[in-house]
């Protein structure tokens, strides 16, 4: 299978005012590379400040990298192409409830996504929305609901619907499973696995829960202070962690 996403030596640093004249460089990401094939899951693990979220932001084009490049299906990606490739990479945030507009009906929200990024007419849009809702186990009339009328698990499904309606190839889940209750989380995990098998979606899972990561992911990338300290298939990394930090992480989760 071909590589869907290839990241080569990506670096990013922020500078911060220090004193009157001095500036301090904060290195958020230092020389990180990895590849992700179609239909696979890569988990990114690390503590806060390790650069996980910076990496996600670079991938969707919210921030610009200092060095390195991102190749999507062999093509280098530039920020100016954002509109072209937001069909391919979609992003899900941690708190579904807070990332949806409370004054907009779900159907309207999904239609906006289609209006901005596709050339479908109204008929086709409506069909597409119904189809996507069905795919995620929601009903047609849910399109007329406001976000507060949903429960936590359903909201997560709505957020997924917004991401999946453009038929992406890669989905970035930024701590999207962390805040869910255990039985709901199991439901969403099952849904994600099923979608992956059906349509060959690739996931980039940013998470702190190693047990879940172990179950869901094919390969794993451990970030520590902006550097990638361990990278390999999940089974390998768990069996023989190379870096001290990874070892500590695995021990602390009892994994």
């Amino acid at each position: 299978m071909s590589d869907l996403l290839e990241v080569q030596a990506l670096s990013k640093s922020y500078s911060k005012q220090r004193g009157w004249f001095g500036r301090q460089q904060i290195i958020a990401l230092d020389n990180v590379s990895f590849t992700l094939a179609e239909g696979k899951t890569l988990a990114i693990v690390g503590e806060t400040g390790s650069g996980k979220s910076t990496l996600a932001k670079l991938l969707v084009g919210i921030e610009k990298p200092d060095h390195g490049q991102i190749l999507l299906a062999g093509q280098p990606v530039q920020i100016s192409h954002y509109k072209k490739y937001n069909h391919v990479i979609r992003f899900i945030f941690q708190d579904a409830g807070r990332s949806l507009n409370p004054s907009q009906k779900v159907g309207q929200m999904l239609e906006d996504v289609l209006c901005f990024s596709t050339v479908l007419d109204q008929q086709q849009r409506r069909y597409k929305i119904a189809q996507t809702l069905k795919l995620l186990g929601l009903l047609d009339e849910h399109a007329e609901y406001y976000p507060h009328m949903f429960s936590g698990g359903q909201l997560q499904r709505v957020a997924l619907a917004r991401a999946l309606i453009l038929d992406p190839k890669l989905l970035i889940l930024d701590e999207a499973l962390t805040a869910l209750d255990p039985t709901l989380r199991a439901q969403i995990v099952n849904l994600l696995l099923e979608l992956q098998q059906k349509s060959g979606l690739a996931y980039l899972l940013i998470s702190n829960q190693l047990r879940l990561v172990r179950h869901v992911s094919d390969s794993i990338l451990v970030l520590h202070q902006g550097k990638s300290v361990d990278y390999g298939t999940t089974a390998e990394v768990f069996a023989a962690p190379e870096h001290e930090y990874t070892r500590k992480l695995i021990n602390s989760s009892g994994g």
Binding site: E47, D181, P182, A186, N190, G255
Partner: protein, 330 residues
């Protein structure tokens, strides 16, 4: 000796649509030196129970119980003033988000010193301030904060979430409480800090015989650090007993589903296979089903389940289900 003995605790809220029963006849008991886990999903009433114990629910909530004893005294019969004295002396609580529960306008040192009661300071009055400061530093060392000078002079926003939580714990143990209630103490923290905090709590339990009520929605971490376990679903107590026993032979279908949905408890589950999940979602409190509240989601629900099952016991293992999973071949 029973420290806390609660029988049939019911907490109701008066709303425009009538009484909403958020916690439905929950029994809970805690011995001296015991650690008990209270597990349930969001909206299951875990935090309400904790708040009812320390008496910080406002007057809109109706709290009734057949028995609500703390060291043999019925807390619900005491006047608020007396009750405050008892709780202020014996029970401490740690809240979910430490950086939000600390006072943002005062430095940590001030807040921590305020939490130290006068009767623990032995010395003439003119040395009180120095003793207080010394005790505060000692408390910080106890919870594993080494650079006490910097922390004492910082405001909460200047510290990381983990340090804030440690400060909260230091404030809670300042008065040597008999019971420490930890309400989701680790949700905001990293996994490495989480393990650290649980070890800290466990060490207080072992060294000082402090009882701990650990409230969480993560079964796996609770199971590792507690002796007893109570499982709540939607305000009803579904199962209680020794942690090991509950985990090995769950009798209630909900507990069973909870255990099966966590990959850690399923070592032979191949990666990328579907997890066991109950259908549907947690009902809202306005629309709870009658009888057993798990009813509509339960895989083996039958006609009898519209009546609330009574709490039954098998030795020290309590459960409330008409059709317990006893005949399961394992």
């Amino acid at each position: 000796m029973l420290l806390l003995d609660i029988k049939n605790l019911t907490i109701e809220l008066e709303t425009a649509d009538g009484l909403v029963r958020a916690v439905d006849r929950v029994s809970l008991s805690l011995r001296e030196g015991e650690t008990r886990g209270l597990v349930g999903e969001s909206g299951s009433g875990k935090s309400l129970i904790a708040k009812a114990i320390v008496g910080v629910l406002n007057s809109r909530w109706l709290v009734t119980a057949d028995r609500f004893h703390w060291l043999g005294k019925d807390l619900l019969r005491l006047t608020p003033e007396q009750r405050r004295q008892v709780i202020g002396r014996d029970i401490a609580m740690i809240y979910q988000e430490p950086s939000r529960s600390l006072d943002p306008t005062a430095v940590i040192g001030e807040q921590l010193e305020e939490a130290i009661p006068d009767h623990l300071l032995t010395g003439p009055w003119w040395r009180r301030n120095a003793l207080r400061r010394k005790k505060a530093i000692g408390l910080l060392h106890k919870v594993g904060v080494r650079e006490h000078q910097r922390v004492l002079q910082s405001y909460p926003y200047q510290l990381s979430e983990g340090i804030c939580q440690k400060v909260m714990i230091a404030m809670a143990i300042a008065k040597n409480p008999k019971l420490l209630i930890a309400d989701e103490p680790t949700t905001a923290l990293e996994s490495t800090t989480q393990a650290q905090l649980f070890r800290l709590l466990a060490s207080f339990n072992q060294l000082k015989g402090m009882s701990i009520l650990l409230i969480s929605h993560e079964l796996e971490s609770v199971a590792r650090y507690t002796q007893k376990l109570s499982v709540l679903y939607c305000g009803q107590l579904v199962e209680a007993g020794e942690t090991n026993q509950v985990l090995q032979t769950p009798l209630h279908p909900y507990t069973d589903a909870l255990i099966k949905s966590v990959p850690e408890f399923q070592p032979d589950l191949a990666p990328k296979t579907p997890l066991y999940a109950l259908p549907g979602s947690i009902p809202t409190l306005q629309h709870v089903p009658i009888g057993c509240r798990l009813g509509p989601r339960c895989p083996n629900a039958r006609k009898e389940c519209v009546k609330t099952p009574a709490l039954e016991r098998q030795q020290s293992h309590y459960f409330s289900c008409h059709f317990p999973l006893t005949t399961k071949g394992k």
